[in-house]
Amino acid sequence: MNAPLQAASPVIEVRSADKVFANGVRGLAPIELRIEPGEFVTLIGPSGCGKSTLLKLIANLIEPTSGTVKWWGGDFSRVGAADRRLAFVFQDPTLMPWAKVDANVRLPLDFAGVGRAEASARVAAALDQVGLGEAAGRYPRQLSGGMRMRISIARALVTEPDLLLMDEPFGALDEFTRDRLDEDLVRLSSGRGLTNVFVTHSIYEAVFLSSRIVIMAANPGRVFGEFPVDAPYPRDAAFRGSEAFAALCRSLSGRLADASRAGGAA
């Protein structure tokens, strides 16, 4: 971890950035958000609160109508350097159905022009990390939804990112699978000083994963408030059963109800 270098500037700094879509709809009111290295920040809120839009701003998939987003204290061209890598995990696994699992995970390394031998070693390591080392030679079709999502995460991890952005990655999975993937995600990201920005609908998922939760409200999409999760990492299934966890979920639930009212939602 490059703590001395990064301590000065936040990984992400959103300064009064807003978004008005081409059809005139105001997706985001001006947003202020700072994300420090090693944080696990979750964006949560009712539908239409702009959490995915905010994540896309951070991923530079869309540009703000006004205001700025800074990556490691500079513009987006800084991203991609040795200690400033970014990876994005979509709602769907978005794997190539015609390619075997290992070829899918290797794809970002092929884009980056990483040599064959090094790429193979890194792919094998990434697959081991998500517990699917044996699936390398199989096709995505042959795997379950949860396994495909793991492959998608391995494809993000193989680039050794410093910032991992995830847009409701486990939304389509059943609750047991989601819980297990959440546990894996905590284990994988806390060991390497990775910074995470995660979008979800689920209160339990947000509390389990995050060091800080950003609560958003709709009409227009905006940051309603922040909710720190003061529980030590690493967290495991035991944390989910604890009294502290239940208390955090209760109070987050209350704050979300306020946010929902503020946004005029039903």
Binding site: A59, L61, F88, F90, D92, T94, L95, M96, P97, W98, A99, L107, P108, D110, F111, Y139, P140, R141
Partner: protein
């Protein structure tokens, strides 16, 4: 024996053969019982004899038809794929050229064939041209649809990773279009044969052909009905072989990952 019957290939091969044999037996028996003369409707054994007797000539004719079919098929595949690539490059190109491709498709080849045969001096070339005109349409339309139907999530992933135009074409668009292209191939191979035979009929009337259609015409002038059936049978077998070949290709290229070629899971 029991194991043999249970084997799936037994039913795929043995059952159709059994039905065929039954039909031949009934045909043979009925013709013998009612003393149907060969010039009205020949028996299978008479057709077989005609095939053996006329074999050297029929084989040459088969070779000629097959050559035209394969050359037209190859031309249709190469030209069709190129035109499809051209179409997906820009909407303007597609919109301005598509009406002419459709024009080619809706004009009956029988009506155009005499013109082509008069205009193109070389018989072989004119026959090939006729067959190509028929065979090219499914390749163009299927490949165009295939190249366009890229998974939007994967396309976004390629864009995010700044993959170039060629990388995207080679690693995303072409593999994604393959199932559509192969379906087009299967239709087109049959149409190439139809086109070759139709063109031979038209050319054969002018006494320039030497293919199987020409043999059918000659046999009909001489009321040699068993020989007509023999030539017809050869055309049918050729068509079946082409279809089987294309199916095998489809199975080999898509069997692992695409729904169209997956065997039923039990």
């Amino acid at each position: 024996m029991r194991r043999l019957i249970r084997h799936p290939w037994f039913w795929r091969i043995a059952a159709p053969i059994l039905v065929g044999a039954l039909i031949l037996c009934v045909w043979e028996g009925a013709c013998r019982f009612w003393h149907v003369p060969a010039y009205l409707f020949p028996r299978p054994t008479q057709i077989w004899r005609a095939l053996i007797v006329g074999w050297p000539v029929l084989l040459t004719a088969l070779g000629s038809t097959l050559r035209v079919t394969l050359m037209a098929f190859a031309a249709a595949v190469v030209l069709g794929a190129l035109i499809a690539f051209l179409f997906v490059q820009s909407r303007v190109i597609e919109l301005s050229l598509l009406p002419y491709v459709v024009l080619l498709q809706v004009t009956p080849i029988v009506a155009v064939a005499p013109l082509i045969i008069i205009l193109v001096k070389d018989t072989q070339a004119s026959l090939t041209l006729c067959a190509t005109v028929i065979a090219i349409f499914p390749i163009i339309s299927n490949t165009t649809i295939g190249l366009r139907s890229v998974d939007p999530g994967l396309a976004a992933y390629f864009r995010m990773n700044k993959a170039g135009r060629w990388t995207t074409l080679w690693r995303l668009r072409i593999p994604g279009a393959l199932p559509f292209f192969l379906a087009g191939l299967r239709i087109s191979s049959g149409l190439a044969l139809v086109g070759a035979v139709v063109a031979e009929f038209v050319a054969g009337a002018g006494g320039r052909g030497a293919g199987l259609a020409y043999e059918i015409l000659q046999a009909s002038y001489q009321l040699d009905i068993p020989r007509m059936f023999a030539a017809l049978g050869l055309i049918t077998v050729t068509g079946l072989m082409l279809f089987a070949l294309m199916s095998a290709l489809q199975q080999a290229l898509l069997g692992h990952w695409h729904e169209s070629a997956m065997r039923e899971e039990r």
